[in-house]
Symmetry: C2
Subunit: 231 residues, 2 copies
């Protein structure tokens, strides 16, 4: 049975931009599980209410409903243990949680700054007032002030990712010789930016660029086929 | 047979302060391998020459000599595969390499800034001119200028470690329910600061503080027994 995922959309139903939803979709594809996106907007609170969750991703797998991308990854690993592993063991799972906390807390913010105004302009009209109010409250300033100098934000993204760049000169994926969940964690952030902004975050000769190309090709080009800007 | 490790010392033979040597010593203890430190100073180039390496740690394990803390970890995992695992599998090893690159490139520099002048003052006299010249060349400024405001450096250490702090609220060790090599990677940096400076880097209620206490107790209190300042 096809798993359904509530998937954050911008103006167009197929401009799916949540980094967390991308983690989940790539994890589903990694497990070889068929899924269908249900486009959802920030202000569609009522549509999500039956699931019991307030944020996406949420997956509906037959009788079971699971929210939060990390909990979904644990759910998939446990319930589809006979399929390709997202972690491959408890130590990898623990280290992936650490990597997730680093991406969430150190990488996401500079990446958001680099694309924020493009992202805002591309939202569904009904979502714009909500997004502006919620984010300006969180940042303590106007979206435009938080976004600041885009080139400076892009430079911060590049320097923040320097340790991953070093790792990718020694192995093709964050997880080693083959991609696994930690790759999807970081790649989700690049799908966030790719789907919302024409900003070029990586130089063509950056090892991260080559890694992102490999990630775009995975699982039949799932990510590359998604609506977004050339990167 | 006891493994010998060339181990960076300050003024006193037992003030062993290299973060990389600490990674190696804790990896040896994790494997249950007996080892003996050979105190070594930056200017003891001749003493290291027979090994073929220019920096420490270097281990001598019978007929085999291995340098570079990461390569030593791989060597131990491969050659003592029947003993407790440092990685537990290829994905954990790959993720540990990523964590190492993050600690080396994002954590070490602010930690060094926080203790730099104490570290310098505690060196063997013969090492001081070498250290000052080499580091001032690397930093492009006087040691005192690079060290700057110690409290600001300590605040940067704390904010840089925020993702690990979050992880340690969910699991007792970086590697999950038990310590393994990635824990030693980060803990090595705390042994660097503990052995050289009375600076307090962590508040008593910080989850990182509790983790560091657990690490100090491992392997019969190997790290806690080492010469250093109360932390």
């Amino acid at each position: 049975m096809t798993i359904r995922i509530y998937d954050l959309a911008a103006l167009e139903d197929d401009r799916l931009f949540s980094p967390y939803c991308w983690r989940t979709k790539l994890a589903l594809a990694h497990k070889g599980l068929a899924f269908e996106s249900i486009p959802w907007r920030f202000t569609d609170k009522a549509a999500l209410e039956p699931t019991g969750f307030k944020t996406v991703p949420v997956i509906v797998d037959g009788e079971r409903t699971v929210g939060d991308s990390w909990k979904i990854a644990l759910y998939l690993e446990e319930n589809y243990a006979d399929r390709p592993a997202l972690f491959g063991g408890p130590q990898s799972r623990a280290l992936s949680l650490g990597f997730k906390n680093w991406v969430d807390r150190a990488v996401h913010l500079p990446m958001l700054r680099a694309v924020l105004l493009d992202l805002y302009n591309g939202l569904a009209e009904k979502d714009k007032p909500y997004f502006r109010e919620a984010r300006e409250k969180r940042f303590g300033m106007a979206l435009e002030a938080f976004a600041g100098d885009q080139q400076a934000a892009i430079a911060t993204v590049s320097s923040t990712l320097d340790p991953v760049r070093a790792t990718l000169t020694e192995q093709p994926f964050v997880c080693g010789s083959a991609p696994a969940y930690a790759d999807y964690i970081l790649f989700g952030a690049f799908m966030w930016t790719r789907s919302t902004s024409p900003a070029k975050l990586l130089a063509a000769d950056d090892p991260l660029h080559a890694w992102r190309e490999r990630m775009l090709d995975l699982h039949g080009g799932l990510a590359r086929k998604a609506r977004g800007y050339p990167v």
